[in-house]
């Protein structure tokens, strides 16, 4: 079975220092007819779980109604949230929680000072209030921690805190490289990413508590992500099918401009078939590319190929004296890879 990731809105109630550049500061919600289109047909294509993302998905003006519709249609669901709005939204969605898979809350520091310095004053306490409700009402929740240059020294502590607070697990993601990440000094270097990955692997070995790694870390797999295995489909707030939740709406987004992928204009079947074709095309390109070139270190960091494929690394030319520019330049990732 497969999972739909629906970006309900690009609005957010926070202004995090490590947020993707030019994202999540918008004012657009996905339209309800698009949601109805998805709910009506996705089940026929083996999608049984819907995860709402954003922006902050609970800010969608019809969030409780959308949860209700998804529930009534028989899907399991979950959502990713910063937790700031949960105390308000909980009374409106509590009737549908028996089909809740999990709520994934963002936890980026082990103290108010650490978390709040990335996410804003008072956000740590508000997050604790959200999970207090979850614990009291036995609502399943997990944490997602984005590792940056600011908090990589807290990995072990973050895992410990996540467990102590009663979450069902913690997943560590690495900060996607954006101009904002570079400007704020939050970007991890290639060496830092390797060190972080080693630390997480050791934590996984020494804990029975579920600890996971998000996409983008070193991997031997050519198609490591659920979306590349066609087990996960991302739909943006504008109603477009996309390749990855990290890629829409910044840079020259992969797939995004194709009207055949726009659920405002085409039916789900048509858009889904186009998406499948696009993913197959991507897979072929990547396979041939690596058959021709072999695989170096850079190719084992899978997000770089995707970002390069979708023309999202050229901005690094403005950061010519950085580790990452040299890394990308040395590995010929400036410009879209082809299978020539």
């Amino acid at each position: 079975m497969a999972t739909l990731l629906i970006e309900l809105t690009n609005r957010c109630n926070l202004n995090c220092r490590h947020c993707f550049d030019q994202r999540h500061g918008g004012h657009d919600d996905i339209r309800l007819p698009v949601i109805e289109k998805i709910i009506g047909r996705a089940g026929e294509h083996d999608f049984d779980t819907i995860v709402f993302t954003g922006g902050e998905p609970t800010l969608h003006r019809q969030f409780p109604q959308i949860v209700r519709r998804v529930y009534e249609a028989g899907y399991r669901f979950g959502f990713v949230s910063n937790g700031q709005n949960f105390q308000k939204i909980y009374p409106q969605i509590k009737f549908f929680l028996d089909r809740l898979e999990t709520i994934t809350f963002s936890l980026d520091g082990v103290t108010p000072e650490s978390h709040d310095s990335l996410r804003g004053d008072g956000t740590f306490t508000n997050l604790l209030k959200a999970i207090s409700i979850c614990v009291a009402k036995e609502i399943p929740f997990t944490f997602n921690s984005v590792l940056t240059a600011h908090n990589i020294h807290e990995i072990e502590l973050l895992a410990g805190l996540a467990q102590q607070l009663g979450s069902g697990g913690v997943r560590f993601g690495q900060l996607m490289l954006t101009p904002a990440a570079m400007d704020h000094g939050l970007a991890l270097t290639p060496d830092m990413i390797n060190t972080v990955a080693d630390k997480i692997e050791k934590l996984k070995e020494s804990h029975t508590y579920p600890i996971g790694m998000g996409p983008g870390f070193y991997t031997a797999l050519l198609f490591p992500c659920a979306s590349l295995q066609m087990a996960e489909l991302t739909i943006t707030h504008s109603g477009h099918l996309a390749l990855c939740c990290h890629l829409p709406d910044h840079g020259s987004a992969l797939l995004h401009q194709d009207s055949q992928l726009d659920l405002n204009h085409v039916e789900f079947e048509e858009a889904f078939a186009t998406w499948q074709g696009a993913v197959q095309s991507y897979r072929s390109t990547k396979k041939i590319y690596f058959n021709n070139r072999g695989k170096g270190f850079a190719e084992h960091l899978p997000c770089w190929f995707c970002q390069s494929y979708s023309n999202q690394v050229n901005w690094l030319k403005a950061y010519a004296n950085t580790h990452w520019f040299r890394f990308i330049e040395e590995n010929n990732f400036l410009g879209r890879p082809s299978n020539d």
Binding site: Q87, K88, P91, S132, I133, A136, Q164, G166
Partner: protein
């Protein structure tokens, strides 16, 4: 016998979360990472203690607000205070 003139301080390490429409609150002790649920009366006692009321004042207000006997209120307040002290959610003022 409890001292009706005794007052207390609620721990600054506690995050209190009200559950809208459910007349209860959750306390999270940041030191121990333990959670506690208080019912409506418990929440009210917690609030009054946090405002610096003595045990006697808390009992009188609970009697009035919930229309219970003085003996019943004293028992409830006393038991809750003992529990809160034991869990370091409260300290003597």
């Amino acid at each position: 016998m409890i001292d009706h003139n005794q007052s207390f301080k609620t721990s600054p390490d506690v995050v209190v979360t009200e559950l809208d429409g459910e007349n209860e609150s959750v306390l999270l002790h940041l030191g121990t990472k333990k959670y506690y649920t208080l019912n409506e009366t418990g929440v009210r006692i917690w609030q009054l203690l946090g405002e610096g009321d003595t045990i006697g004042e808390v009992i009188r207000k609970i009697c009035t607000e919930y229309e219970v006997s003085s003996a019943s209120a004293e028992k409830s307040v006393s038991e809750l205070i003992q529990s809160l002290l034991k869990e370091a959610l409260l300290s003597q003022g």
